[in-house]
């Protein structure tokens, strides 16, 4: 009507914006104002909560027992250490024993780990050097390892390596055997289970042998072992269902550690006979078939025995961190309260001046 240009019947206020809360930016909003009445209680509460959790965690962590034995150059292992520095003698066997004692019994499930330091499993090129498709048992990838495995993908004559890549090639190959010395002369081997030490998803899905699964020799025919290995992949274990790509030691090794110092699960205590309740206190020794060279990179090797709680292994840090943060929060809260009480008039009370 008023519109000179609009078609007949057009609305008079066509361009008027909608008067909605959204368009006028008047949506109901919560304004998080930081007032002493809300902030101080929050500080106190969170401080107390943190301390409580921290104390709980510390108590829990205290219940976890751990024993770590560095055997890199321990006693007669020192010879083996120097032997392994020489690459030429890499195939010669070397065995040694280290002994230790547990002052307390390790109750419950006990896990045995091997520990390595200064080993950079997270080095980028190293980390990449694997072929997941091969490890999941695909025929094509078995014979044609991924380019990521280079130079550990094929022998010079073209025989593919299974499993390919630097990770598999550098698998930790010391064997550890734990003995319990109930007295000076008896030497009881501690039974270890080498299965179920990996993630369920890893051993059931992520790692699969190529078919035919009942005849691994045939399955892996046409492939060769990695350079550093002494045995082909289908002879990693004597156990039938813990062999080939699903060998749990291999799977454990293939899950790259996050830091250069790490431990990896070696086995878990088979709780039978005298080890029904765990490891009794007393003297123990570990017989080591010392194969893995660590001298090149100034690494250390160790054996670790540990029990677990709901928190996992021994972990004091979390509890301490909680307690400390809680304490700091509390201190801050107290300071703030004092300040608030002292200066309360100032910000809100300008009108009284």
């Amino acid at each position: 009507m008023s519109n000179r240009k609009g078609p007949p019947g057009s609305q008079p206020f066509m361009k008027r914006p909608d008067n909605t809360a959204f368009k006028q930016q008047k949506l109901p909003a919560w304004t998080p104002t930081l007032k002493a009445e809300t902030v101080l209680p929050f500080f106190f509460l969170s401080g107390v909560a943190c301390i409580t959790i921290g104390v709980l965690l510390i108590i829990t962590a205290a219940g976890v027992q751990e024993m770590k034995v560095d055997y890199t150059e321990e006693r007669d292992c020192a010879d083996c250490y120097s032997l392994r520095l020489d690459r030429a003698k890499s195939t010669s066997d070397c065995a040694c024993t280290v002994s230790f004692s547990l002052s307390e019994a390790f109750k419950g499930d006990v896990f045995m780990y091997y520990g390595l330091t200064n080993f950079y499993q997270n080095q980028r090129h190293y980390m990449v050097s694997r072929d997941d498709a091969q490890l999941v048992g695909r025929q094509y990838n078995l014979k044609n390892p991924s380019i990521t495995c280079v130079p550990f993908d094929k022998y010079k004559n073209g025989t593919p390596i299974a499993p390919c890549g630097a990770i598999a090639n550098s698998i930790f190959n010391d064997t550890l055997q734990l003995f319990y010395h109930s007295d000076k002369n008896t030497e009881t081997p501690v039974p270890l289970l080498k299965t179920d030490i990996t993630w369920f998803t890893d051993r059931t899905v992520k790692f699969q042998n190529p078919s035919p699964k009942d005849n691994l020799t045939a399955a892996f025919s046409g492939t060769a072992r990695p350079f550093y290995w002494r045995k082909p992949v289908y002879q990693l274990s004597v156990e039938e269902n813990n062999n080939g790509f699903v060998n749990e030691d291999l799977i454990v090794w293939m899950r790259q550690a996050a830091f250069p110092s790490f431990k990896k699960l070696y086995g878990r205590l088979n709780r039978t006979q005298e080890f029904n309740d765990g490891l009794p206190a007393g003297n123990y020794s570990v017989k080591i078939s010392y194969n893995y060279p660590v001298g090149k990179f100034k690494g250390r090797k160790s054996v670790i025995l540990s029990t677990v709680s709901w928190l996992g292994g021994q972990n004091n840090f979390l509890g301490i961190a909680y307690s400390t943060s809680g304490a700091i929060t509390l201190v801050v809260a107290i300071i703030l309260t004092v300040v608030h009480l002292k200066f309360r008039k100032k910000p809100l009370g300008l009108e009284e001046e």
Partner: protein, 1331 residues
Amino acid sequence: MGDQMQWARFRWQRLVSAEASYSREDTFSSRRCSTTYQPSRSGGKHRTVIPCLARFNEEYEKVSKSYMNNSIRTTKYTLLNFIPMNLFEQFHRAANLYFLFIVVLNWVPVVEAFQKEITVIPLVVVLTVIAFKDGLEDYRRYNFDKQINNILTKVYSKKHQQYIDKCWKEVHVGDFIRLSCNEIIPADMVLIHSSDPDGICHIETANLDGETNLKQRQVVKGFPEQGFEVNPEKFNSRIECESPNNDLNRFRGFVEHPNKERVGLYKDNLLLRGCTIRNTEAVVGIVVYAGHETKAMLNNSGPRYKRSKLERRLNVDVLWSVVLLLLMCLTTAIGHGIWLNNFAEDPPFVVPEPNGKQTQPALAGFYMFWTMIIVLQVLIPISLYVSIEIVKLGQIFFIQSDIDLYNKKLDSTIQCRALNITEDLGQIQYIFSDKTGTLTENKMVFRRCSIAGVEYSHKDNGKRLELYQDVDSDDEEYQTGTLNTKSDLKAQSCKTLNRPRSSSSLNTLTDRCPSLHVGYAQTDTHSPCHMAFSSRMERDVVPDPQLLRKYNLISSPSFMPDESSESGSLETKYIIEFFLALAVCNTVVVSYPNQPRQRARFPDIGRTPLKSLEEVKQLFQRFSVRRFNTPSSLNGTDSLSNSTSSFTSRLSIFKTRTKTPTLFKGKEENISESSQKDQPSENQPPCNIEYQPEVEEAAGSLPSKSESTTTQPGAGELNYEAESPDEAALVHAARAYKCTLQARTPDQLTVQLAAVGDLNFQLLHILPFDSVRKRMSVVVRHPVTGQVVVYSKGADSVIMDLLDNSPKDDIQLEKILRKIKEQTQKHLDDYAREGLRTLCIAYKVLSDAEYEEWLKLHFLAETSIVNREELLLESAVKLETNLILLGATGIVDRLQEGVPETIEALQKAGIKIWVLTGDKQETAINIAYSCKLLRPTEKVVTANCNSKDCCEVLLNTLIKEIGESVHGPSGGPGSGFSLVIDGKTLEYALHESLVETFLELTKQCRAVVCCRSTPLQKSQVVKLVREKLEVLALAIGDGANDVSMIQVADVGIGISGQEGMQAVMSSDFAISRFKHLSKLLLVHGHWCYTRLANMVLYFFYKNVAYVNLLFWYQFFCGFSGSTMTNYWILIFFNLLFTSAPPVIYGILDKDFPAETLTRLPELYKSGQSSEAYLPSTFWLTMLDAFYQSLVCFFLPYFVYADSDISVFSFGMPINTCALLIILLHLVLESKTLTWIHAVVLIGSGLFYFVFAVIFSATCVTCNSPANPFGIMEKYMSDPVFFLVCVLTTVVALLPRFLYRYVQSILFPTPTCKAAQFDKMTPEECSREIKA
């Protein structure tokens, strides 16, 4: 050169041929455009247009092949070239090139960090998003083009021997097109026929330049101008014209008839694409430019691109990010080299090259540098640029949706034409404002006048104006309802052909061009259609009783000129001449409201008091109108006056020095010759048959009205459309004294003089207004005396200098004249002091010999090719000398509503306001006081000098003076200084050597008023202040004279008002009222700035915090460029999981509610000093980011150190922590949270978890080295994971939380205080502010 010659020859031919009597300078002047559109000299080639008919087929093909047809395509892409073109365009941006660089880098095997495909993702995503946006925009344009291309128009078809409907796109150069009233012109065409008997037609150019007054166009000379239509079949001339160019005000060419006769073409002959035919039943034209070659399309430029202050600041910080990135990469590179060097022998975890050899540590380090650039690429916040664009779009959406910025009268809301400087609105330090039309309404109302040295104060008129002040606003409310019926009636009578076309035409040029819808409530009841009509306030002038008495005395039948007293007769003569000058000296177009676009040419018969005489006159007039150039009025009146003696006696007042015209003879011959040529047309039926009914219908539609106003017939229904509102005001004033401008044709003006009746002035010349002369004049032949009279009106400063000072024979007369001059000057000063706009009215009578002499000169000037403008100016100056002062007028221009409040608020906000005006100093000062720019409490210093030295001394003294008083005892906070400087002094002050001093002075002043300043000075001042003081300047104005200023300023704001669209077209934001500025700046500007600044800071924080996590990890992986995060999550983290919240934050966050910001303009200062985004804030944020990343990395690290955790298992809690920290950080920083925030924040978090869970459940072999299979599931069931997440998040955010709390409690900055004011009552608040 060749062209020049040809033109010269052609011109000469025209000069020689006597028939060339037409080239009257265009009255619908170009002065507005001339400032902006520089005539672009077309590159030589001329265009030849040949009718598109079979007869000329061969030649046509040859000539017109290269001409564009009328289909337009404003799209950038086609379906085929969209992808390559768009990619090409996008890779012109540095940001995208960076992405590309990263992608390419990742394809280099030795530095490859991720899988090759992964780094492509960000690039692809960004490109796709932008391509999608571009595509959508283009598609809209495509649809739009299609719509326009398919509009139908009537094109002559050879085959059908008639005009048939064709789409616009099928129109070609050389086509004949027939258009009816209200149709839109499809292409630039030369007018060769008009149904108008005078061969003219009117077009409305609102679509082109927003000016709503009608422009007149003329049929090319030599073509039949009346009666019958041109038969295209018989058209066998060819047209030569210049090549297409974008100068709207220039068109040159000629038509060559088969007999080699040439007729010149001017811009008066050209109908421009996009304009609308008005008031003319039918026109025929031949297309000369089509499609993209039309002037309208050539003038269509895209949106502006400016870079805001914040963005400039941001770019600096982006550079810092680059430095940081390089530092980090360098650290890693060196670290990697050293790390490799540590090993005597190759360890098993260092993978050799494919050839089995190890890379040298130094080389490996070098490679590592590039790898790290890929890994840490996110540190350069590329997505920031995309996000900023989105945020700004959102901000603009909200600005445009603000109902407070909506003007009901004009049905227009704010237009944001520049899309990327919203945040500059929050940092403005200087405002440069135009006065007229910006601070004031530009509704000129006649207020008072002085004639022959006698002041007529028009008291009642003043009272009336005060009344309107209040009524005006309510007016609109109630009129909306009641007027509907009337306007419906209107809609019927106003033949609205092709309405839909009209509406679409709006967009032919620029879709941003707003239709200047007029609140019809503002215009009078009978003119709902048009805005150029004045409002009732402007029209109803209450006459001064004293003046009216004198005036009536003159015009009463019994009046006999008093010969005895010289001064008395002089005064009466002056009064009459004064009003005649008001009515005549203008370019106002008259139209009747009932047929608003119908030019008033047939004054109603039988409703005038002098019935019998009028009838005769009317008849004669009709006759004269029909014949084009007859000097009818003169002869007619004379002959009539002989027959009616009483009439003659009344007219005797004009005859103080009557002479019979002698000069006229020669010209008459010419004219009669030309009318001879027109003879055939007279044999035609005198009235166009189609035309007649409309007139009758129109006349019939207002019988009741005419009955009620029998005393002043027709006067109430006239509408004046003026180029400038001043003119209309004066014409309305004259009408109040029954000296009514009744009709206007190109050659004739009809003025109805109370008792005398209609006088037909033969219009000889119009010397249009220009800013150099500052005056305009019309040259008319007086109908009664037959003398040539020049009426001038202009600025008092110029007119006063042009007065006739030559010694007179009559000493007494000389005395009187001097006295009049003195008196008038006194009155002028009074007016100016009152804040009125003053104009001087003067006239002079030319002897025929003088006129002839001048005419020769003028004719030469008009027809010259080279520097025609200068010559015309010279000629005008020559004529305007020895004027006789009649009197002066005072026109009031009311302040817009809310101006004082707005200015007060803006000044409180710490913005310095300069008013730059062309007005007189006194007027300017007065207005400045009334809009509270100047305050009575403060000292106003004025600077007026006549020389540079004087200026220098003055400036220095003023600085000293101000400095003393500021430091002196009297210098309280209330007393400020304001500077008033005039144009001349400003010119000296802007001289290079004085600039520093001048700025020094202005810095001390709270407000500056520059009066008498030219457009050039305006832009100079803005530029100077902006550059020298390094401040953010905003310029606001409404007219063409503000364009340069608007363009120079950081933010240019145009006011869409009465003065056309020039200012709006060159502005960044267009508002409709000055008062909107306060909300725009104080609220939206503040919001936009703080929002964007905070968002940018947050973005930097986010990127640094996240990327540092990756960096810290390098210390644990031998600086090898490993990441503990799955690559997909790494890429998506920035792209998907944390991209939406900052955008929402940037669009919706409000630090203060709008009411608080309006109430406390002081809050704006935080934006001016860039408080939200200082370098210190940036580094503080960076520090916080570092701290948070340290916590976020090392807390989980210590928890998981020495455990059997795997790389990607370790990444999972870190990622989750980072996400929580980053999202909660936003919550901490947000001032307000709405449900939208909640949805987006929670949505982002959930999206991350869902994505991670699904990904780690399904990805078995994909994404090989970083295979996340099973990780999420495992850790989601691990209590340590949650404990770590909670603790890390709390510890990371604690300092920021504490900082915010302490800040708000202990050290309340003004902004924090204001937040508390919200909770107080207004009284408390005001007390607080005072304290």
